[in-house]
């Protein structure tokens, strides 16, 4: 019987600061056994348990895209025990990776549709994975228009800035980057909160258009009415939840919302599905 709690051993290949305040770092991992990379086949929107030996495990969304081969990346916020320790680790250190876990964004349903991605703050990791995946030459034709509204407090707090700039220059993706405020005179993108920019820039909702929202609770709270106004039905609004987790495979019991486990039945749900469950997230 395969042990679902046994992590694959990985080496930290590269660590980069992801935000100007250094509260987030991006980790690139390489599997010690190349065979494990094949077993770790994942889809955009899934997550994994990063296993820091001697400290514990934390569930983190996969930031790399399935189209990027030879490594996996994660962007980790410094919060508590495990993530703080991870921030002190060095390139070359050995740790573990368990997954992939969760259900991913509904790629079958999204095919042939317009996709509107709305992200705020740190919750842009699996959205980055999704964008890279959709923009891959082998996949781009499977989707209609792609819109991205992404906001952070200040320009230096936006994740993956180099990539955002490159995407801005392309004509097969509509980028709407925004910051809450900035004193940078060279800032050439939007200023304003995500809900406001969404209202101004996002296309109207229809049967052919899905919105994926990830962000802090306040952002979600104020974006949802905007989407309602734009005509998005709740089965076309997709969200990814972040309940506290341990096992990641639906067994330890802590991440439930009603009868669903966020780790296994989610973390991705449509708003219509969430309307049917107690809001314990």
């Amino acid at each position: 019987m395969q042990n679902p709690y046994l992590p694959y051993p990985v080496r930290i290949d590269k660590i980069t600061n992801a935000t100007e305040d250094k509260s987030l770092k991006t980790y690139k991992f390489v599997f010690l056994d190349p065979d494990d990379e094949r077993k770790f086949a994942y889809k955009a929107g899934q997550f994994a348990e990063l296993s820091v030996t001697g400290k514990g495990e934390i569930p983190i969304g996969i930031a790399s895209s399935p189209t990027e081969k030879g490594y996996v990346t994660f962007t980790v916020n410094r919060v508590g025990l495990v993530s703080s320790y991870l921030h002190t680790m060095k390139e070359g250190d050995i740790m573990g990776l368990r997954g992939p876990m969760g259900n991913s964004y509904p790629w079958d349903a999204l095919e042939g549709k317009n996709v509107v991605i709305i992200g705020g703050g740190f919750a842009f990791t699996t959205l980055r994975s999704s964008i890279v995946y959709m923009l891959d030459p082998a996949n781009r034709s499977k989707f209609k228009d792609i819109h991205v509204v992404y906001g952070a407090r200040s320009p230096g707090m936006l994740l993956y800035r180099d990539e955002l700039t490159k995407w801005e220059e392309r004509d097969d993706i509509n980028m709407h980057i925004t910051v809450d405020g900035t004193d940078d005179p060279d800032w050439k993108y939007n200023v304003g909160f995500v809900p406001t920019i969404t209202e101004q820039k996002a296309p109207a909702g229809n049967d052919d258009t899905y919105a994926i929202i990830c962000g802090p609770p306040v952002m979600i709270k104020f974006t949802q009415p905007v989407l309602d106004k734009l005509g998005y039905t709740h089965d076309r609004i997709i969200m990814s939840l972040e309940n506290r987790m341990k096992c990641g495979i639906g067994m330890c019991g802590r991440c439930n919302i009603g009868k669903e486990f966020v780790c296994k039945d989610g973390p991705v749900f449509t708003l219509s599905q969430l309307n049917e469950t107690p809001r314990e997230y």
Binding site: M1, N3, P4, P9, N243, G258, T277
Partner: protein
Amino acid sequence: MKVIKIDKQDFTSGIEKLADSYRLFGPVKEKESYAFQKLEKGQLPDFNFKNTRLSIKSVINPQSEVMFEYSLDEKQTDHHVMKEAKKDYSPRAIFGVRPCDGKSMVLVKPNFDTLEYKDNYWLDSYNCTTFVGLACNDPCSTCFCTSAGSGPFDETGLDVLLIDMDDYYIAKAVTSKGEALLSAASWDTAGTLDDVEDKKSKAEKKIKTSVSIDNIKDRSINEIHQASFWEDIAFSCINCGTCTYVCPTCWCFDIQDENSGKSGVRMRNWDSCMFPLFTMHGTGHNPRGEKTQRVRQRFMHKLKYYLDKYDQGIQCVGCGRCIQSCPVNIDIRRVCNIMNDYNYE
């Protein structure tokens, strides 16, 4: 399946024989209460108990269990790599399993044995075990198994059911695993079930309390979740978690790394939805930060989420342990009936 008659002196010699091929476990008296323990050579299970304080969960899914071992010493090859801990999954028999505990295994299994993942710790432990039940001739006042999908003579989840007929036991094999145990003990005198029916109906009649779930079944999760009775139910709860620890069907656990010097183990430990830390995010946000939300989670899980998810009744076998152990007398029978009888609009 075989029905065997075991004279009480043959019971002792059979147990001695079984010790050659099984690790034997059974109820043992500990101060005021009984606990399942490994039986030493020559030790007999003590059947003078009503029910044990902790269920057989304490044997199948121990409160603390090592999952992996690791070294943090960079001089070692394979440092920081998790190694599976060695386990003994040789055949084991648990004697004195009350029917409610037997049934609990059937309710818990689908959590650990899923299409996508198999929890090897739970399943290996479960699969190596032969469950030897002991029918309840004399249930407690807190028992309500007959309305919770079980009963004092229920065989579900057991491999053998023993019935104490005063001068002798009747052993009813329920599975081939159970037949194998009876043969290994050389218990081979054919018996009959003639007098068992009478014992059974007498025992069932002694159970005076019950729960109903018809209405709970028909209501939506959100309707029950949002009903107005939860504050009242939770009022006196001190969130001690005792109810979930003594519960045979509660399965929640935590995973922790424990270091000592340059090595350590990854363990799993029982956890409880009664504790605020169970759901607290690193940021301090807590989806069930209030006591009432946690009490509601426990009862909603047992009496509604489970019911809807698995379609095999409620996640409760009516053993009554939580009722006996709760320091503030919160009674699941009362809560279940409040949930069922409430006038939902």
